[in-house]
Amino acid sequence: VDRDSLYRESFPIKGDDFERGGEVATRVKGLLQQLGLPRDVIRRLSIANFEAEMNVVMYAREATLEVLVFPDLIRVQVVDRGPGIADIDWAMQEGHSTATEAMRARGFGAGLGLPNIQRNTDEFEVKSDVGVGTTLRYAVHTTSRPKEG
């Protein structure tokens, strides 16, 4: 799976930094635009990145979002240090959330983040160690046809 990427760049995300939540997704969007990718690919990746970034802001202490560019796909890994997810199947169901009122006041925390990431990506994987952190890996194929939804 870990072939050599053409390009890779890492972006730090700080937990609890609500004022800046979304900046990494926006910066990565700029990078994807420079790569000249199709608009639909950029949009799907940006939506997934934004949801992943907000998950870190809401729940984790810190994380690194890494973008790896391959000839036929863009892979993203979000590795956080945080509480982890005890029951991933539960968290993957729409509407399931442990968010607080403060998180919901920011327009997130409705239990749609992980499903939104999965819906917008062609490959998706969550691994989590309770008390250690969560790793998200997802990818969008740059040669694929636009995905519905």
Binding site: F18, G21, A25, S46, I47, M54, G107, L112, P115, G149
Partner: protein, 109 residues
């Protein structure tokens, strides 16, 4: 139609907007709003403008007299994203836009 105050993008308002999506929940917007849509929202935080940016939305109308957070306004201006304010409620805004022919976003499943 809405008597809005224009906070950002007053030179960019000659827009053709295909449809409208109204929500305070940004995950709903990210899940369902098509690109080029107008976002009607009561959320004044920076996540509102980042949502519009990543989802390629055309413009934002902030309802119920809310003022955007400082970071949100700075981001909208930097990204040339039209941001309009109105004292009308979300329901009134949607109703007026609908009367003037704007359609809702069709949810794809």
């Amino acid at each position: 139609v809405l008597t809005c105050e224009i906070l950002s993008g007053d030179d960019l308002l000659d827009l053709d907007i295909a449809c409208c999506f109204a929500a305070d929940l940004m995950s709903d917007v990210l899940a369902s709003a098509p690109n080029g849509a107008l976002l009607v929202t009561g959320l004044a935080s920076s996540q509102m403008v980042h949502t519009a940016e990543v989802a390629d939305l055309a413009a934002i109308v902030l309802v119920a007299g809310k003022r955007p957070e400082v970071e949100a306004l700075a981001f909208a201006r930097q990204r040339k994203l039209p941001l309009l304010l109105t004292g009308l409620s979300m329901f009134e805004v949607c109703s007026l836009l609908s009367q003037h022919g704007l359609r809702g976003a069709v949810r794809k499943e």
